[in-house]
Subunit: 377 residues, 4 copies
């Protein structure tokens, strides 16, 4: 693991997600740009001090020299956005598969570089669009793909949060600090942090691609250096339309990412804060409440579920699904097999490059006088 | 009553709403452009056949000649949009107060004429934006007006329906038929029918005005002659922004108008399909579930409630609140008194003119290449 | 109308319910045991002073003498329990049909007398078990009757309220006052006021009868003279079992009557505070959300619905369904026709007698040392 | 680990729960009474084959001989009920701390023996009443303990499931098979499997003890050898009363354990299928929606939460809280420290003995002719 030292939020999440299924063991880390912090974090995690490194370069160099049965297989990079590309490129070069936090990089150009390097090295990248790991998101995608809703006409995606409704970066808040800093976060704040999630969820669930959008991106909280709010009208490659909303100033909201899709024959909706339920709506018969862990859901949903219906699974399980599928896919590859479709179904560089293009498109559109801006990769 | 013959939807709703509180009695009508239908409807309603008229002109002329203690006081006009202005103008001229269905008229010009006539005659117009009659909508408005949320920053208004997801007007469906006919509905279909409702709700609850919008208005169902779907980015007169959605092709949705407002200090949300609940959300303490009929709500909410908490009130009660407040305001006026603020709080021509301007602005913006279009009255 | 003077809760409810559908007109009343209050109430209601009577005896005697086309057809009795039987018996004797509040009488003996008198006079009684007027309650009954759940095995009925969680009768609260007074309420407080409602709902929805119960009835609030809380284990005539709960001391609850029924093949649940939804649950497929006003519900549900799906109907509409069905059934009878099954479907003396037997059984069982007490009519 | 071989449900849950926080590592096991199955399970889990044992006796004997820094610290016993006591007693004797599935034993007598042995050996037992591990259950307990509801008056606990609504044990269903077999499950089926959970939840949240109950326990599904359904009236040591329901034949239900508590000043409710929400209800102000991961919850709730508000935590996290607290408490003990109150807050033998007494009391009461049966430990 690179990053994720004491006090980190997402580093701890990655460790829990990776540990849950007993498929992946954390054995080495460069947890912080501060070597002392890295060392202490290693202690907290009961790691062999030999494999707790002061920086990512040492980690990658030294681990690469270890014998195959000892060295790490996967490098998880959980640093702020500006520190994704360099360690990831080096890890790929050294022959490691890579887990990367989203957005994939600091810029679209970096994202393209990573995608290129992945292809050159033949290694794999998992990009942590966690919300696609939920069983009911898989179910939604499967049902739309099967044509249950008919042709998709309307998509409404939302990601309201409230935690940045005040100038939190003014009070030594580590998470707020780097996310609102252009030097570490990139061209966008909220659009990169959560906009890319809802954009990815929309494209993943619908199987469609956004071709054009018209955005209004804003900085609502005074003094903030990056956007904290945005909305857009969307156009899709099949002629459908929709809206996307992402805001971090919806005071009182927690983490309410949700999606609604309507087709010719019916609609569906999913809300991350009630993740084990997928609602199907029909014009001529009762709405149906599809639930995680039941006997009637798709293989994709079942495979990504651990406990019977009525035993709620949440965010960490969704995250763990990414790790587990990545690990299973790598094992399959290592043994020369083709992983099943629902194992190979994890986000990677294709999604990452589109996400970076989305960020640029939102920012460009918001500044433009004309209505529509093309989203091109 | 003008319109509302057998088979009409909204005419029956008006009659129930007017009857509920025992303040208004239906005594005369011209229920249809077909005199026989008008007569039969009169019979259904146990009316004196003498006061069931073959057309609105006879009704207004003859009723105007009756003695003051006998003639009708209020004329309810529940016809399609193209038949609002003429009977309303004549009714005002003849000295009647008027109840009008929304949108107020066939065009912005007609709406301005009605507003002008109302001022000239000194009579009153009630415009049936039903959703503002709900107690929890009153409560939302009251709390925002009191500053409980702080300055408003974001407003999200939605009105998804699904009933026009097929070409219903092709199968002799009376409601679908006129609403999708430019000659009877006006410049817009869904934007007039339900777009004006959510626009009105947004302005009513927030106390703000939309100054600019950027719209994408569509006709999704093939063969349809007017729009059935739309969305817009919004800008408000205090600097806030938001989105508006109104669609009649969200297959599987019923009548799910809802609003969310976020301010500096918190947020609120209200859903018409669960109308007796208003949710207040706070960043630093539990969300609160405000309920109709409780001891702690505003006078505005209490006044518009009939039964104790836990006895659900619905659409007809909200509609009846418009009628009751209008009747009470007219009584107060008749006796030279000033009605209390929450009695005088019913929608009228100001809201009607803004609604017609909204329709034009949505259509214009949707056709425009530039992003923002001013909403001017 | 007998009772329902200024300040009354249920009298106003009856008037709104009766007025809603334009089938019934209020023309006469003895609204209070205080003639002045009766007179003022009549004024509030715009009644002819001639037909506002100082007491129920005058009302019944004088109305009986009026010509058939003038006199009232139906007498609504909305007084406290101890004043049900006498006016009802007299009304029946004078040839009027009767609407009665629940519980039907002060005692089981009175209830039997009323049932007997109804049979002798050939007149009709409507007993206001309002909750059976909801469309989704009709739907639940229809689906169970059709066998959709298979044989019923378990029934859970609840009626929690919180309004009597303090000694409210100590502070001049009219509603609390008579309901907790043995001289006016009868043998029971909460068991009569709300216990009979949930008991009726259980038997109505399931189509079964309680044969035995085991109760724990309590007076929780110190100083109270009647019960305010109770629960019972139930046994039904088909071998099913269940529980019943009714309490008025669940501090914070409004009026949360609900029912759940499970059969061999599935279950259903209905909650009065969300009345337009009926949830069907299945072991092998998604739960279904059945909704008022949709195209797919039973005739019984459709007949008792006024507005399209998504326009909430509530307590007053449910109440109005009782009145409307009663009026339609009386009209059918008057014209020698048999009303359709869903019109004749309103609660009457059979339900009333069973309700009074239920009250006695709850009180007896609670005092008994043995577990089970038979419920016999 | 003892038990939990391939195909086991709860064994896999224990492994995930133990792994989540990186505090506990699985290193040895006797996973099945079939040595081959045990060996294969060990392979699945990447264990050293040397430490995968053919039976629990070998495991305990051999591990006890290993050096302190190598041998296991904790023995998790995840076998059917009849195989709890023997390995647990031996594990305690050999100096291991023990994790036990509920109900604690096959009989009350065995439970007392285990409690006694624990005291004699000075070792610790964690009993897996998972539902008490949820943060919002901790919050509920904390708020009641602080007196926020005033004195508790009413408690309603429910645990409806539907998975045994058919004769599932007739079709080679491993989970159904042993749970309905008196030789493996004990005196009760559903009352032991889920009745003990809701009983424990009631006592844990309220801080009260059941002193008497009146039960109706049933076998609904024909051919079944143990109970699959039950309900009881409850009396508590502070004079409060309530009801308990536990059924496995509520066709269509998943795992809907829930609790409602009402005191003099307000009420609360918690539903396991929406576990991150605790609803507080007040008679004189809006209900409050308390949420996991927020800034305002108790230390007990915060300590048992891993991710920020809006990132759902579920069943596995609740389970992991038991393991983590047990591990932290053992570490504290090992280093001579007193763990904080919310770390020491895990269920153990006291709860286990009460649970077994509850089972006996339910069965005895159900067979008794008298109403109340004392629950004595």
């Amino acid at each position: 693991m690179i990053g994720g030292g004491r006090g980190s939020f997402i580093g701890a999440v990655h460790r829990m997600a990776a540990a849950l299924d007993g498929q992946i063991e954390l054995v080495a880390g460069a947890f912080s740009s501060d070597p002392a912090c890295s060392r202490l974090t290693g202690q907290d995690l009961f790691l062999d001090p030999e494999r707790v490194y002061p920086d990512y370069v040492s980690l990658l160099e030294k681990e690469a020299l270890l014998p195959a049965d000892k060295k790490v297989d996967i490098i998880s990079i959980v640093t702020p956005n500006h520190l994704h590309a360099a360690p990831a490129l080096m890890a790929l070069d050294k022959g490691f598969d890579v887990v990367l936090e989203k957005p994939m990089a600091f810029s679209l150009q970096e994202a393209r570089q990573l995608d290129q390097k992945r292809k050159e090295t033949g290694k794999e990248i998992l990009l942590c669009h966690t919300y696609t790991g939920y069983p009911m998101v898989k179910e939604a995608r499967a049902r739309i793909a099967r044509g249950e809703l008919g042709a998709v006409r309307k998509i409404y995606g939302e990601y309201p949060q409230g935690w940045l409704h005040t100038f939190l970066e003014g009070s030594q808040h580590k998470q707020a600090d780097w996310r609102t800093d252009p030097a570490r976060s990139g061209a966008a704040g909220a659009m990169g942090d959560i906009g890319t999630h809802i954009f990815n969820l929309i494209e993943y669930v619908s199987g469609l691609q956004v071709t054009q959008l018209c955005a209004d991106v804003r900085t609502v909280v005074s003094g903030r250096r990056l956007d904290d709010d945005g909305a857009a009208l969307l156009r899709f490659n099949n002629g459908a339309s929709g809206t996307l909303m992402a805001t971090q100033v919806a005071a009182g909201e927690e983490n309410k990412i949700s999606i609604r899709v309507y087709g010719e024959k019916g609609g569906l909706e999913w809300h991350q804060q009630d993740p084990n339920t997928l609602l199907l709506k029909w014009p001529d018969r009762p709405a149906e409440v599809v639930r995680t862990g039941t006997s009637y859901v798709s293989d994709a949903a079942s495979h990504n579920t651990r406990v019977p219906a009525g035993h709620p699974e949440g965010y960490l399980e969704a995250f763990a699904n990414l790790y587990r599928n990545f690990a299973l896919a790598l094992r399959a590859k290592a043994s020369g097999q083709t992983p099943s479709a629902y194992i190979a179904d994890y986000p990677g560089t294709t999604e990452g490059v589109r996400g970076m293009a989305f960020i640029d498109c939102m920012i460009d559109s918001s500044r433009a006088a004309q209505k529509w801006t093309d989203l091109t990769v």
